[in-house]
Assembly symmetry: C2
Homo-oligomer: 416 residues x 2
């Protein structure tokens, strides 16, 4: 008898579809293509020699524990270092026991989905938002209520209106998901007042806030805006951090900070899911933090990515035709380009690939796929000269696209 998988698969498995956008991303990796599509840190910034020293120390001083199973919560010494940094740099009132080490922040998103989403439950997100969050939440059957950003602000009025409308029909959302600092994909940062207002609404309607903060340390200019978690006195915010951008993605290490009741559920979830996070990597990260290498590395990345952002912005100003809007991020990896409404960036991508340049189509970051005239550009990964050439090629593609479009349709797209 042949296996009848249709009968055997769970409804979660049946619902899960291959991410179309990840398939598209594969196309951007063709030879010769300058890809501003990915979201990778720049490998030239990896602190290889420092990592070699840390690894050597781990194998000399802690080999037998670093190679053994670890506790589900994570290496206590690393959790202490993380808690200390979160207190000092992020204003988060926490100590070791408030920190759970996870396989990158993405695992935190899946734990949130596991613990707060029953099929059909609703969460609230900005539009646009991080692709991987959409994937994690939807894997567990979540519905998304997307609220637009107005400039850098979460639209608080729209948020209230939407929650009121939902609750009238018996829909009680579970949490609000935000990447408030140097957002993926827009590069934008929610101002302090907007963060406070968001927390107030969450409190009023008794919702959680998920603050996903992978880029917060990558600040190029100005003062950091306080984290939402630092404003939280009630355990309403679940904070996610990661080593992927400040050490290296290859160790697959992140952390989450949440109230005790929530963290206890996450620990049980992790026990069932994969027992513990890779211990060797945790020891390396601990050495890296405790020896003081982290701050010097962050300075290096800020300088490098800040320079690359400037290169990209200058090239955009020089080459892009009129009628186009873009964000000017003060940190992070990405900026966001909004074209006139006559342009569909998904249709345009094929032409861009022919001209050997790639971006991520904007609709990928809309839970409902609604905005079609935007794109995300990454400035962290490419070499400086590739950034200049890539933007130039992209400008040519856009110009050709606009020339095919009747003048009256050339109005600027809204929504971002």
């Amino acid at each position: 008898m042949v296996v009848n998988l249709e009968r055997l698969f769970s409804s979660k498995a049946t619902r899960m579809k291959a991410s179309e956008i990840r398939e598209i991303l594969k196309l951007t990796q063709a030879p010769g293509v300058i890809s501003m599509a990915g979201g990778l840190p720049n490998p030239d910034a990896f602190p290889v020699e420092i990592i070699r020293q840390c690894v050597d120390r781990v194998l000399t001083e802690h080999a037998l524990s670093a190679l053994q199973y670890g506790t589900t919560e994570g290496l206590p010494a690393l959790r202490s270092e993380i808690a200390k940094r979160m207190r000092e740099k992020k204003g988060i009132d926490c100590e070791m026991h408030d920190v759970l080490v996870i396989n990158g922040a993405q695992q935190g998103l899946s734990f949130i989905a596991f613990n707060f989403i029953d099929p059909g439950d609703t969460y609230i997100s900005t539009a646009p938002t991080y692709l991987g969050a959409i994937q994690a939440f939807h894997a567990f059957g979540a519905n998304c209520e997307a609220i637009p950003m107005i400039d850098e602000n979460f639209d608080i009025d729209a948020l209230r209106r939407n929650i009121n409308r939902m609750t009238k029909t018996g829909v009680y959302p579970k949490f609000i998901y935000v990447v408030p600092t140097f957002q993926n994909p827009s590069g934008e940062t929610m101002p302090l007042d907007n963060r406070k207002a968001l927390l107030e609404v969450a409190s009023e309607y008794d919702l959680l806030i998920v603050e996903d903060d992978p880029y917060g340390e990558l600040l190029f200019e100005g003062d950091p805006v306080p984290t939402i978690k630092s404003l939280d006195r009630k355990g309403r915010v679940i904070y996610l951090g990661t080593f992927s951008k400040i050490l290296a993605p290859g160790f697959r290490l992140g952390w989450t900070i949440a109230s005790r009741d929530i963290l206890n559920k996450f620990i049980l979830t992790k026990q069932a899911m994969d027992l513990c996070t890779n211990v060797f990597g945790q020891y390396v990260a601990y050495e890296y933090m405790s020896q003081g290498y982290l701050d010097q590395q962050i300075l290096k990345i800020r300088e490098m990515y800040g320079r690359k952002r400037d290169i990209m912005l200058n090239a955009i100003k020089e080459h892009f035709p009129p009628g186009i809007k873009w964000t000017t991020p003060t940190g992070g990896l990405f900026l966001w380009v909004t074209l006139p409404r006559s342009v569909n960036t998904r249709l345009m991508l094929q032409k861009a690939l022919e001209k050997k340049v790639a971006y991520v189509v904007g609709d990928a970051f809309y839970p409902d796929g609604s905005q079609y005239n935007s794109m995300r550009l990454n400035f962290s990964y490419c070499k400086d000269e590739e950034l200049r050439e890539g933007v130039k090629r992209l400008a040519d593609v856009i110009r050709e696209e606009l020339e095919m479009t009747p003048d009256e349709e050339r109005s600027i797209g809204n929504g971002v």
Copy 2:
């Protein structure tokens, strides 16, 4: 407003309870206690210097890729090495594309639960069975139908009877979970005929088989029994392997081999759950395999654990009072002790801890907690002299317990 977590938690989160047995395990870690409770590999066997060479090679030759994000499927070179070994040592007809690298075999169990269990769905397991599997499956709301082992055999008649009974009431189980080789907890190995019969039943009723094989390489004597996966021609078996016992648990690396349709779902699941497995560890494991270190390490562990098993068995024979049964595993980490039915090993544990010796109570491995007079002993972790002393202490505890029991109740427990 205070956060009302009761309203916000999903039904999965609400259902999930702290594992009582893991709480008990913590007690066994008190100072001075000889613990035969854990399931840890012996750190004296960790190939520290070889790992140092592999790490050095990774940082010299592959640093920039090893520190970057990796593909969800895993490092192609590592997947090829795993596929080659699975063909050569396990008779499994597979190539690179059939292998997915995961965070230890435990993550495979959670992927199986995610993709095949809707709340209330039933799976079939042996009794006793691996604790972590119970936890992973039950986290997704599974019901377990437990089938006893008769000596080393899955009770095929009972299996048929149970499936027939279930299907009559409209319950169609999804899969059969087994650790067929050097089982955790019993140390027993299903004979080839029994494996074939199991596959036949699975085929007849169109069920999947989950073959969890963390210990298969740790063979002390005799010939290896073919894996169930090697007998599978229809993609009915999902195979799970791990580096935790043959390299080190600290890298948190395992793999799964399954039919293309199933593996594709697992890849999507992994993408949503944590994007990819830690790349640095994958490179180390690749160097370790491709440089030929794995085989010499396995020889070392076989010799060490085989010796420790003998020490434990000899001490049991010397010290245990009459009326007790135990298994004689030909590989792995564990053996299983069955006491007279008058003894409740859970109640006895307190006395054992007072005498500074620990084991895992047998009922922890029964999905329904039904058998109370057995225990799991681990022989891989303790030093040789601790094993001798630990068994001696345990024998004293058992003897005292039996002396408190009326003679007529001293019959041997059944079930294992």
